[in-house]
Every structure is written in C-alpha cells, then in structure tokens.
C-alpha cells in the first residue's frame, strides 16, 4: 500500500511548478512521504498550524475543501476533499493534501495528476478492503492542551463569535 501513496506523492511532485507535497492526517502528522528529508520549504510545525486553521474553519461552520495561500515566493494549496483514507497507527484515518508550489504551479496539471493517481489508488483491492476511517475532526486539535496560551485566547474568541 505504501507504494501506492508514495506514487501519488511522486505524481503530484512531477506537476509543473510543484516543489513538494504531503499527505497529512487531521492530527497534523505527515503520513506520506514516509521519509521527508527536506523541510526547507515548510516545517513540520507548519502542518500543525494548517490543521489548527482547518479546525477553526470547522468551528465557524466553514468546512474547507480547498484552500490557496501565498507562501514565500509561491503558493500553498490545501486540498481537503480528496476523500482519501490511509492506514495509520490509530487505524484508518482520512488525510488531506498539502502542496507547496511556485507561482507557476499549474492547477489543471495538479487536478489531472490527482485524478489519475487517486483513481489508481482507490481501484486497488487492498484499498477497497480498508475499513471506515476513525472519526477525528480538525477542531479536536483545538483543545486547550494542544494550544499555546495565545492560541487558547484566539480560539476562545472565535468560539464566541461562532456562537453568535
């Protein structure tokens, strides 16, 4: 199975303008690629922030499917609607894709590469046999134990706004 997910990452990385890409769990853990040696473009901590951001979107009722952000000299794409599940230490989890790319990143190319790779992945027998993913929401990462002091205050204000 690892090979199929790694192949998806490889296909995405071959897209025009893509620098690197990662399949991330809702806990912010990089599931694929298994060995990430170059974090010069994005640190591991960045992914935790991304998950917290997605958690905030969940909290205010906007379930983000795709997010595009300017990042350094390029773009950061967070694609949350792949519907991909991955076996992890917790069982089976849903993952989202983070793509780091230059300004020349071709979204059409990315879309095409994802279509083909995911079709290849989900048609695999082992993938089909995989159970349902465990329910972990992004907003579960917004508990006080997982946030810094400032973040606790920030999330608290967002909760209040969301309730209004």
């Amino acid at each position: 199975m690892d090979k199929l997910y790694e192949n998806l990452i490889k296909e995405v990385n071959e897209v025009i303008g893509v620098v690197s890409s990662y399949l991330i769990s809702s806990r912010g853990e990089i599931i694929y690629p298994k060995s990430v040696s170059d974090f010069s473009y994005l640190t591991k901590e960045s992914f935790v922030y991304i998950v917290k951001a997605l958690g905030i979107f969940d909290l205010i009722g906007e379930n983000v499917l795709e997010l595009e952000a300017d990042f350094h000299d390029g773009k950061l794409y967070i694609i949350n609607n792949l519907g991909l599940k991955v076996p992890t230490s917790l069982g089976v989890e849903k993952v989202f894709l983070v793509v780091v790319g230059g300004v020349n990143l071709s979204k059409s190319h990315l879309k095409m590469a994802l279509n083909v790779s995911i079709a290849n992945l989900v048609s695999n027998k082992k993938y089909k046999k995989m159970g349902d993913p465990i329910p972990i929401s992004f907003s579960s990462n917004l508990s006080p134990g997982k946030l810094s002091g400032d973040e606790v205050e920030y999330v608290k204000r967002i909760r209040e706004l969301a309730q209004k």
Binding site: E11, I16, N104, S106, S108, H109, M112, A113, N115, V116
Partner: protein, 266 residues
C-alpha cells in the same frame, strides 16, 4: 506499417515519395509537415489525398507549393479524418504532377536551397540574356534585401516559377547571393512542437471520434493561443478543456493518464 506514427526528415525522404508510400499502402490519416517558416497538413482517406492546408491556403496547390521544401520534418498520424475535403482529383494524377514538379524543384534547390535567401545584382559583366515580362518583373524586385519568398509574394506569382527565374538570372551571372533574410533569422517563438497536438488529437479521437482535431483547435483558440507558439505550461489547461468532452469516467482517467505521460516526455 502499423498504428505507430511515421516520422522522418524531408532531407532524407522526399515528400513525393512519402505521398506515394501512403497512397500505395491505402493509409487514412494526416501527414504533417513542419518546416522553418510554417507547416502543412495533407489528409489521406484509404490512400487518396482528400485535403491539404497550410496557415493561409488549402487544396491541391498546397502540395505543389511545399514540394520545394527540402529542410523539415514529417509525421503521419493514422485515423485522423477531415470534415470538409477539398481535393477531388485522383491521387495518381496529383502524384504524377508532383513528381514532375519535384524534378523542377530539384534543379531549383541547387541554387536556392532556402527560400529565405536574398539575392543582389552582380557587379561583374553578365552573359547576354533575353528576358520576358515576368522575368523582368522579378528582376526589378531583386534589391539585396528581400528574400526569394518575399519577392514571390510581391509579384504574386507561383513560388516555383519565381525560383526558376532566379535560377535563370543566377546562371546568367546577373544576380548573386547576398545573404539570408534578417527577418527570417529572428529566433523562432518557442512553443510546443505542433506534432504534440496531432498526438493529442489522435488520442482524443479514440474517445470522441473524428471531430477530435476540431475540438483541439477550438480549445487552443479558447485559451487564446496559437498552435505554432503554444506554451508548454498551458498544455495541462488544454487537456483540462478537452477532458470536458469525455463523459465516460474510465475513458477520462485513461485519457488523462496518457496526457500526463505525454506532458512528462515533452
């Protein structure tokens, strides 16, 4: 020959020989020619030539016009058809005429290997020569600046006829080579090799049928681009547009998979 694309160089295999091969083998498809200043497509149906076009002309004359090109490449893409054929003349007659014209081109190419050559009047004493009105018309345009092709356009005569006049004037010592047209020496616009579009059309035709080439041409226009200066980075956008023509999910994935490989290998 199987379904693989037939490719080669016009310096190694003359156009008239290619026409004869495709006719003899009763091939259906498109013969694409790429040369320094443009391109031409010749369509076959069961070995018969049914259509030919360049950027600015179409029909039988295209074939005679491009016969003189000795530097360029060709590729044959099977199973591509055309909606509106423009040639009715029997192919055997076209090829016979092409062979006759090709012999003239063979002679011309010894003096004019490239239509971008510029000629000027010689300073020495030419041989005694008598000129008809057409030859005078060509001669008065030879100025050391305009290329052979430019002058053919100015006098509005067939390129071969104009070239034959140049050869006559050259052999008489009246003109000599001044160089190549500066305009033509400008760097070509870099873009995707137009063969790529023929390959895309061919693959799309397997899914949507014979209108594939028209769909590709329309999609290129929709992107505001030209086939002859199409930027590589826009190929995925083109494939994205073409993908919308495919309704079958599996065929769509297979098409995109092949297109990804194509883009990778360019």
């Amino acid at each position: 020959m199987n379904n693989e694309t037939l490719r080669g160089n016009l310096s190694q295999l003359k156009l008239v020989d290619i026409l004869r091969i495709l006719n003899h083998n009763k091939r259906t498809g498109k013969l694409s020619l790429q040369f320094r200043n443009g391109s031409a497509d010749i369509y076959f149906l069961n070995g018969d030539i049914i259509h030919a076009k360049t950027n600015d002309m179409f029909g039988e004359n295209v074939i005679y016009e491009v016969l003189g090109i000795r530097e360029g490449t060709f590729a044959f893409f099977p199973n591509i058809s055309v909606k509106n054929p423009t040639i009715n003349r029997p192919t055997s007659e076209i090829i016979d005429k092409a062979e006759f014209i090709d012999e003239d081109w063979e002679e011309v190419s010894k003096v004019i290997p490239d239509f971008n050559l510029v000629f000027k009047m010689t300073s020495g004493s030419p041989k005694e020569i008598s000129l008809n009105a057409m030859e005078w018309n060509v001669l008065r345009h030879i100025n050391g600046k305009d290329s052979v092709k430019d002058i053919a356009e100015k006098v509005e005569l067939n390129l071969l006829d104009v070239c034959k006049v140049f050869v006559k004037l050259y052999n008489a010592g009246l003109i000599e080579v001044a160089g190549e047209s500066i305009e033509e020496q400008a760097p070509a616009v870099s873009g995707v090799d137009p063969y790529v579009f023929a390959r895309i059309s061919q693959r799309l035709a397997e899914v949507v049928g014979p209108l594939a080439e028209i769909i590709v041409d329309d999609a290129i226009k929709d992107l505001g681009e030209d086939k002859f200066a199409f930027p590589k980075e826009k190929l995925p956008d083109l494939v994205d547009l073409l993908s919308k023509e495919i309704n079958d999910p599996q065929k769509l994935i297979d098409f995109q998979k092949d297109m990804l490989n194509l883009i990778k290998n360019i």
